[in-house]
């Protein structure tokens, strides 16, 4: 079709048809209004959706926050329930002793789980609490006809403590007496030596506990004090040995009560200076038996500065009475000094010298000791030491010994 006129006619016709079609599809104002309203509804629905999403997100945040707080409260302990207010702890120590005495009859090689201790404590309120210490000594305690069992089950602490004021407490029950360095703090990882020092065994009869009542106060300048009235010793007049006089609050005689007081200064970090006095008007609790009043004076110093440490203690008993004087044991005393050095945080070495003058002749000696502690964890310790003991009296020379000890201990 090469005719231009025909082309023009056809084009005009096509345009005319297209225009007519477009005009026929154009929405009316009513249709436009419907469209606008529909679109408005969609916009509002979208807006509501966004708002819902935002609200849901806020709700989710709030719930997450509440969950975190709940987890935090449960993990930190609200102290509101029984379990949160009850604590369990303990310590234990295994010893290996290899004693080579001048008289072979006094040699001794043994392994002994010396102490297994469990602590239980409970807070009744923020101001009233209970603390207890239950101990099995020497791993085995059984009832034998002749009493020849190796160990003991002991209740060494069981007291109620009241906070009377912020810095004043009262306690009643069975508690450790405030005397010496080790008597109140004797977990194996806190001291050097497989065995505890002998002065705080023979002169200060650690572990030394008693039933009674006590008051303790602390001052902002670092001075603290303790006063206690409690069951007394019942020292046998057969040997006047102080350690044998502990009654351990087991149906203990209370004919003659005892008093213990301590003054302590810890106002300079690393330093402790303390002095204790203990008095009982009748140390045997039997009148007229030749053992009357007993007075123990004890003083000690602890100083730790950087890697260096020093412990020193002196204790002396002074007894009245004809029999104890005649036996020559009216004064029983001892002292020790113990320098130490920690080349690393988990390794420490020490030396100790002790001089004792106890009731029994075997308890009168001088002893040198050197050794080391290794702490693989701050609450776990491995110990090794060497001891050399020389008795004062020739009659006990057969008891002189050199000893090698190993130990492992823990607390939790």
């Amino acid at each position: 079709m090469n005719n231009p006129i025909a082309h023009t006619v056809l084009l005009a016709a096509s345009m005319s048809i297209a225009t007519a079609t477009t005009a026929a599809q154009q929405p009316t104002p009513e249709q436009m209004w419907e469209i606008i309203q529909s679109q408005q509804k969609e916009i509002e629905a979208l807006k509501r959706g966004l708002q819902d999403n935002a609200k849901q997100a806020a709700d989710a945040d709030e719930k997450a926050e509440a969950a975190v707080v709940a987890v935090e409260e449960s993990s930190t302990g609200s102290r509101g329930n029984w379990a949160d207010r009850t604590t369990i702890g303990g310590y234990g120590e295994l010893h290996y002793n290899n004693i080579d005495a001048t008289d072979p009859a006094n040699d001794n090689k043994e392994i002994d789980f010396h102490r297994f201790v469990l602590y239980f404590g409970h807070e009744f309120t923020d101001n009233i609490r209970m603390f207890s210490e239950f101990e099995l000594e020497h791993a085995l305690s059984k009832d034998t006809a002749d009493g020849s069992n190796p160990g003991e089950v002991e209740l060494e602490q069981a007291y109620i403590e009241f906070d009377l004021q912020d810095n004043l407490q009262a306690r009643g029950g069975v508690f450790l007496l405030p005397v010496g360095i080790l008597n109140e703090t004797h977990e194996p990882n806190t001291f050097y030596g497989v065995e505890r020092n002998d002065v705080e065994n023979i002169i200060v009869p650690s572990t030394w506990w008693a039933g009674g009542a006590a008051l303790s106060g602390q001052h902002d300048n670092g001075i603290s004090w303790d006063l206690a009235i409690h069951e007394g010793l019942m020292i046998p007049t057969s040997d006047f040995r102080v350690r044998s006089g502990r009654q351990k609050t087991a149906e203990a005689s209370a004919e003659d009560l005892a008093y213990t007081g301590r003054l302590r200064y810890t106002g300079i970090p690393g330093l402790e200076l303390a002095a204790s006095a203990h008095y009982q008007s009748d140390a045997s609790q039997v009148s007229g038996d030749g053992l009357d009043a007993g007075l123990l004076l004890e003083t000690h110093a602890v100083y730790e500065k950087g890697p260096f440490g020093l412990r020193a203690l002196y204790a002396e008993w002074d007894f009245d009475g004809a029999a104890v004087t005649a036996a020559g044991v009216d004064k029983q005393k001892g002292w020790y000094i113990e320098p130490s050095f920690k080349p690393r945080n988990n390794i420490g070495v020490y030396a100790r010298f002790e001089d004792l003058d106890g009731a029994r002749t075997r308890d009168r000696f001088e002893q040198w000791e050197v050794g080391a502690n290794f702490w693989p964890h701050e609450d776990v310790v491995i110990k090794a030491d060497y001891r050399s003991r020389d008795h004062d009296l020739a009659g006990d020379a057969g008891r002189d010994f050199d000893a090698f000890d190993l130990g492992i201990g823990y607390q939790f």
């Binding site: 975190v68 987890v71 935090e72 993990s75 930190t76 302990g77 604590t87 702890g89 404590g121 309120t125 923020d126 101001n127 009233i128 609490r129 603390f131 403590e161 009241f162 906070d163 009377l164 004021q165 912020d166 810095n167 407490q169 009262a170 009643g172 360095i181 109140e184 703090t185 806190t190 009542a213 008051l215 602390q218 902002d220 300048n221 670092g222 603290s224 009235i229 009560l257 008093y259 810890t266 106002g267 300079i268 970090p269 690393g270 330093l271 402790e272 602890v302 730790e304 500065k305 950087g306 701050e378």
Partner: protein, 175 residues
């Protein structure tokens, strides 16, 4: 003797008075530290390497999912808790330029180790920083008979120094 016994029994029977072991509230501590203009609290989540390192420092998992802190300039303040022997010790610690500016025991609940709540002990901490092994870079002399409380405060000091280094690093990276 009878008089002393009577006095003790009277004291015991009188019962306890409320003990106030809160020496400064966390709010008062923060107000004092920031002179009344306390910045908005921020949160450090204890996850991934922060959880791992904080566990190594404390010797156990720190009992929280996150820790709040207050940061202004080079100073950050932290309220942290750790158990000494039996009960948590609440401690306020301020770190400035990676050194401890102050450490204060805010609430002491333990029945032993009372010495650590006093300035004669806590005054040892200002100026101390942390080594790459997360140890304090200076010595803290202990208190005889308060080993566990001393240990708790030393751990909290190390933790605050580590947390500070983390939030300052994150803050610098964000800028």
């Amino acid at each position: 003797m009878t008089r002393i016994l009577t006095l003790l029994l009277l004291l015991l029977s009188a019962g306890p008075t409320p003990a106030d072991s809160t020496y400064q509230s966390p709010e008062d501590f923060l107000n004092e530290v920031f002179a009344g203009a306390v910045p908005t609290a921020q949160v450090l989540w204890l996850k991934d390497d922060v959880r791992e390192t904080s566990t190594a420092i404390m010797g156990h998992r720190y009992p929280a999912i996150r820790v709040r802190y207050w940061l202004k300039g080079t100073r950050s303040a932290w309220i942290l808790e750790e158990i000494g022997k039996e009960r948590p010790i609440t401690t306020g610690i301020v770190v400035n330029n990676h050194d401890i500016e102050r450490l204060r025991v805010l609430v002491f609940r333990e029945s032993r180790g009372w010495e650590v709540k006093h300035p004669f002990f806590t005054d040892q901490f200002p100026g101390l920083g942390i080594t790459p092994a997360y140890e304090l870079d200076g010595p803290i002399d202990g208190v005889s008979g308060a080993t566990l409380s001393v240990r708790a405060l030393k751990k909290l000091a190390r933790l605050a120094l580590y947390f500070h280094s983390r939030v300052v690093t994150d803050h610098d990276a964000a800028q």
